[in-house]
Amino acid sequence: MRSITTPSLLALICGLLFFNACSALNTKSDRFPATHPEKLTETRPICSECHQDQLKAVLKPYAAFDHTPLFIKEHRFTAGRDGQLCSLCHAASFCTDCHANRNEVKPSTKLGDRPDRELPHRGDFMTRHRIDGKIDPVSCYRCHGRANNEKCVICHRQR
């Protein structure tokens, strides 16, 4: 496969920007508001309690975004497809509490006042990580291994 170089990609992006401007004149798809019009409380929202039918801008039913335990567990899928929708309610810093290149504290420390949140590494994780890390290192690599390694290298040095 021929590799793609930066200049050609940048050219493509410029082209797309231009196209963006043109398509803005041509197509008539629904646009999101910048922020969710209704202020929600700090609990997991069930969209379908307030909204019926389709969320036109993403052509999916509102129910597909109900923040059920399954949605939270598998938010990778929706985040990868409809990231723009997430920013309606979530500042990027909401995500970087758990996902960051460098994070100062573990999420359950920063949000120690929120036991109801689905935060990784609650309690003593230094002991458990040796067990959980052996069982499923793949789940760790989503957040460590390319990023957030600072604490790891103290013990996991190059051997």
Partner: protein
């Protein structure tokens, strides 16, 4: 880097002054932690780090469609150094301008930001754009820039990616994506990773939903992962779900910058896992999740994790209880002394009413085999908070714990959280 952060915040402060009508918001968290640290084999320390997380968001700039978003943190140690980096540390998480086109959900971002197209999270300094395209349901996103250097080196000089997707209203979405991270060193161009991916969403009626993705790395010529999940809702209160994952580790970990451990790539090893769960959601009464997962690594024995979580909302309380068993088969390899199956119990309650917040949280593990001579660990944490204003909260967390690595641990934390929206509304003639 610090100058860069300073400049961005300066820019943020200036921006509203030359736009017609802008919302300006500041949010953040201030933490002062107090810990005594003692890991076996490391010197004992008293830690008193103060950390400020600060975010600025300004919207309605320029013609009203432009917004600015900044976030970062800075730490100063008031006692022993809390990391190898010395007594202060900081990070600039993101700082970007976002322009939303009036139609077609077009948008452009420029600066430092996180991108999660196709489900791969990357942090880059660059540009990204997405738009809906004329044949209904088609959308394209692209991004390119420099990956933000990781703490441990081994990141590429450039990163670029894109995702093309087709949606069929309410039924289907198929996406094709590409992510390339490459280097331009003396030996000519190198490829860190070039991932080609497909992803899928399918819904049949109100009850059946399929999600999935497969990624292939052309740099190592192998699939990095297959991940598929199916859910079925036989009744509006019940959701049954099952998922399957297969990950050849030599390809998946290929681009790690933690050298050899813990993400070992020199073994031809495949990891796979499959799981099932049942969620019973009785509105305003309780939510119960029962889950089971089976893990298999070629180089080690299989293991299982199963258990349940219950969540009970009772205004002004929200409480939860959970139990999980991690049955690790025999994953031990000769020399290891610190491996064991375990039971985990957790319970919490959160109280929120008016200006007062409070919570109590306990988590405990019971290990089948003692680790460093101890067969259990627990942490009990209490937090109480007071809203000085709806936008400003002060809270204190105290925790005690005991575990195989740390004897009778005591930790304290004081926290200020604030989120002021629409701080400055500069309407010239609105």
């Amino acid at each position: 880097m610090k100058r860069c952060v300073g400049f961005c915040f300066f820019l943020a402060a200036l921006l509203p002054s030359f736009t017609a009508a802008a919302d300006f918001g500041v949010n953040g968290t201030t933490l002062v932690r107090m810990e005594k640290q003692s890991y076996p084999g490391f010197a004992k320390k008293t830690l008193l780090p103060a950390t400020q997380f600060l975010g600025i968001d300004s919207s309605g700039l320029y013609d009203g469609n432009l917004s600015l978003h900044l976030y970062g943190w800075k730490r100063a140690d008031l006692a022993d150094n809390s990391s190898e980096k010395g007594s202060t540390d900081s990070a600039f998480s993101y700082g970007y301008l976002r322009y939303r086109f009036p139609k077609a959900n077009g948008e452009v971002k420029a600066g430092r930001f996180f991108q999660s197209d196709a489900g791969m999270i990357t942090q880059l300094d660059g540009v990204s754009t997405r738009t809906d395209l004329p044949p209904a349901g088609l959308a394209l996103s692209m991004f390119a820039g420099r990956p933000v250097p990781t703490d441990n080196g081994n990141s590429g000089d450039y990163l670029a990616g894109s995702r093309l997707s087709q949606r069929l209203a309410g039924v289907l979405e198929i996406g094709a994506s590409m992510l390339r991270e490459g280097g331009l060193n003396n030996n000519g161009p190198t490829t860190y990773r070039q991932i080609m991916g497909v992803d899928l969403w399918h819904r049949r009626g109100p009850s059946l939903e399929l999600n999935g993705r497969s990624f292939y790395d052309t740099a190592t010529s192998g699939f990095t992962e297959h991940l598929y999940s199916l859910s079925y809702k036989p009744h509006k209160t019940i959701t049954l779900a099952t998922d399957f994952q297969r990950t050849p580790l030599e390809h998946f970990f290929a681009a790690t910058n933690l050298s050899r451990t813990p993400f070992v790539t020199n073994r031809r090893e495949t990891f796979s896992s499959c799981g099932a769960s049942a969620t019973i959601a009785l509105p305003t009464t309780a939510e119960v999740v029962i889950d089971y997962r089976h893990f298999k690594r070629d180089s080690r024995n299989a293991s299982d994790r199963y258990g349940f979580d219950i969540r009970i909302p009772r205004e002004p309380y929200l409480s939860g209880f959970g139990y999980h068993r991690t049955g690790a088969g025999n994953l031990k390899t000769g020399s290891e002394t610190d491996f064991s199956s375990y039971h985990e119990l957790r319970g919490y309650t959160l109280y929120r009413k008016g200006k007062i917040d409070g919570s109590l949280d306990v988590i405990a593990q019971l290990f089948d085999d003692a680790i460093f001579g101890k067969d259990h660990g627990y942490e009990l944490q209490a937090s109480c908070g007071y809203h000085l204003m709806p936008e400003l909260k002060f809270s204190v967390d105290l925790s005690i714990g005991d575990n195989p690595l740390v004897e009778n641990e005591f930790k304290g934390l004081a926290r200020v959280t604030f989120a002021f929206d629409k701080l400055i509304i500069k309407g010239v003639d609105k």
